[in-house]
Subunit: 324 residues, 3 copies
Amino acid sequence: MPDSNRKPITQLRADGSLRHLLTLEGLPSQVVRRLLERSEHYARPLTKPAARSDALAGRTIAVMFAEPSTRTRVSFELAARRLGADVVNIEVQLSSRLKGESVLDTVATLESMHVDAFVLRDADPSVPELVASHVADHVSVLSGGAGSHAHPTQGLLDALTVRQRKGNIEGLRIAIVGDIRHSRVARSSWHAFAALGAKEIRIVAPQGLMPESGEFAGCTRLTSLESGIADCDVVMMLRIQKERMTAASIPDEATYFAEWGLTTQRLRAAKPDALVMHPQPMNRGVEIASEVADGPQSVIRDQVRNGVAVRMAVLEATLAGGRP
Amino acid sequence: MPDSNRKPITQLRADGSLRHLLTLEGLPSQVVRRLLERSEHYARPLTKPAARSDALAGRTIAVMFAEPSTRTRVSFELAARRLGADVVNIEVQLSSRLKGESVLDTVATLESMHVDAFVLRDADPSVPELVASHVADHVSVLSGGAGSHAHPTQGLLDALTVRQRKGNIEGLRIAIVGDIRHSRVARSSWHAFAALGAKEIRIVAPQGLMPESGEFAGCTRLTSLESGIADCDVVMMLRIQKERMTAASIPDEATYFAEWGLTTQRLRAAKPDALVMHPQPMNRGVEIASEVADGPQSVIRDQVRNGVAVRMAVLEATLAGGRP
Amino acid sequence: MPDSNRKPITQLRADGSLRHLLTLEGLPSQVVRRLLERSEHYARPLTKPAARSDALAGRTIAVMFAEPSTRTRVSFELAARRLGADVVNIEVQLSSRLKGESVLDTVATLESMHVDAFVLRDADPSVPELVASHVADHVSVLSGGAGSHAHPTQGLLDALTVRQRKGNIEGLRIAIVGDIRHSRVARSSWHAFAALGAKEIRIVAPQGLMPESGEFAGCTRLTSLESGIADCDVVMMLRIQKERMTAASIPDEATYFAEWGLTTQRLRAAKPDALVMHPQPMNRGVEIASEVADGPQSVIRDQVRNGVAVRMAVLEATLAGGRP
């Protein structure tokens, strides 16, 4: 499709309801709060059956991931199915791109098959917004992770997890630790925590993995793990990729763990009841010790569990207003 | 299975109902008309929810594609699910062929799991018919595209799309343009339009991409785009593949577009209200200009939308009579 | 997860109900009988619609196969869906392993998404048991085939197939023929037939494909096809893989067929009403002649049909007791 068809994106409809979810940046805090409340409605302990509804019966959701992901893809898929929707999984690189078809043509094709919402993941951060700018008025676009730019449902599930344990985000001191520079999780979690009134958000990273100076406005920057997490209520560790260590002048995984790995010993710098979080997949023994990942302060499995509830809430919110 | 088990194929049951859909060739025109009427029943504008029924509740459909295809595979899958059927997707080359198992053994296996219908796509044009000649009496086989031989649901959706816009196929002059020689779409659309009484069907192609002289009986052959589409009611452009250009002595895509690409300018040779069609995926800027593909005469997205409705009608027709 | 979390595995719950199905070895014969009776409840002739129930409505089953398999994967998937469950398919090697994530982390993640049961296939025979030792109390693990160790649902479907034709396993003489050494099918079928009171179970193989001497206690060992199947009620042929022929000093497929292929002529050594079985996929013309595979004594397609019924029974039995 020619770019002349491209419309400016607003995530909200004229009536204030959520149409797309591409980023948490700039989303009114009452919208974020409403999503979290609805997510809470769908959250269940693991000993109880999963929540179900027929809110999206008759709707069709296309999940198009151009990057491999078990967790996020299955989480969206289960969320959609537990709301009664049909789901089609499109492995973008294996199907249409084989024939050189553009993402926009594929999306237009699926839209013509009465697909009501697209969940998109791509290494190119502009893809979800590009698609959102071309779809028909009754169609919604959700980001399932866009480059290093945004991963809004991850930000929401992080906020939900903290809220469940701490009652409130307001007044909390939160450290996000690791490869901030390349992390969509860091960006979206920052937006969620900021919208909900966190007292202090720290980004803690080796100098080479810090974001550009204009980014993460209002966050405190710290370049050592111990000082970074000192007195924090929440310690969120990020996945580090080997190829990124070089940029931070760190020669190998053992050295990274020695300087940046979260151990029981180091965790003592944070508050005694600090929560430990990780978006997964984890490199055990690299950014986090197994004893911490599986320890009493870890809420990592709560994050996964909340992921389905958050995606149910987001799918419901965006699709409920979509059709006459 | 030994070939002694092979039975002669007729697509119709003794009572005149449709059992298999392998080709539109030779299908009585009242069967084609009945399928189009039922497709119309399932077609919905995109602003309305997709049509649904429980006509195939309790049935199981296996979709086995040995060639990559987002559009056709998803279209069949959504059609089956919107009729209440269970669908299993079998990626033929990734699963059984890895172990050297024959297609017939795979089909026999799935049949034994109470699969009621097989939707098959293969580069080998004989596969759907081969399978149809071996399955049990209550099982149906649908072609999802067989080599360059047949793509019957595509022919039906093309006919449905023209009928919706023009009221009738009778009396229309239709041009099919491009790589006719290797195109299953051209063959099946020709059969559909011919069965429904088109006044003239033209095949328009460079000499090297024309079919053998015995084929496309009754069609007019033309070897230039302008004369080919002159005064036509319908212009159906086909996808051209780079490796086929050589056969037509065309050195590259730019040269193809210069001689054979449908532009706004060239489209003026057709009737002012001529429909522009394309089976997709499109090579924009090769066989068709983006301005035409997305322009006011294009019904390309209607074709996709009608694809689901046609496949619902075909699945319903073939399976409704299958079991006692 | 650290190994300190690993719990000893028992397949039965305290109340005697089945929680996991990892192996038939040691399973009380009344549990095996109960599963076969319930399987019989779900078995249907192919001319009748497949059995359905909503026994598992609201439950989620993850099917994680690290080896390619159309038959077993689809059989479990259809079994789960025909009981009303949601199914997620995880291609282990294509998703999480790409990021180097451990199987246990993937399982923990899915468990946190309210997955109620895992169906696992892996070349590593310890994987299902490893997973079973880590999941929460309400979660079940089913083996879909573990290395050369166990394939319990295959053993059950073999027993069900024989019981349907012979009325009873007691008093029967059964020959399992071929690559016993590397066969999980041979092991699980042996356990099923032994639990149900077969009079004699023979393992028939070239010396190089015989299991270690301590294994298959109580079975008769024979090293020629003719003497091996003489007077048998059941002849179960196993798939032979080319790379294993070398171990048996057999140079090629033709030589294997000459010595070990089941032909009509050779089958006469067994009882006149002997059943011919094969777990599939078959190498026609290697371990079995097509005339025998498709002949009147073959129950190979019954085995596949029974596979879905057995998996319905096993899923229902394990999941019915799982949640309060």
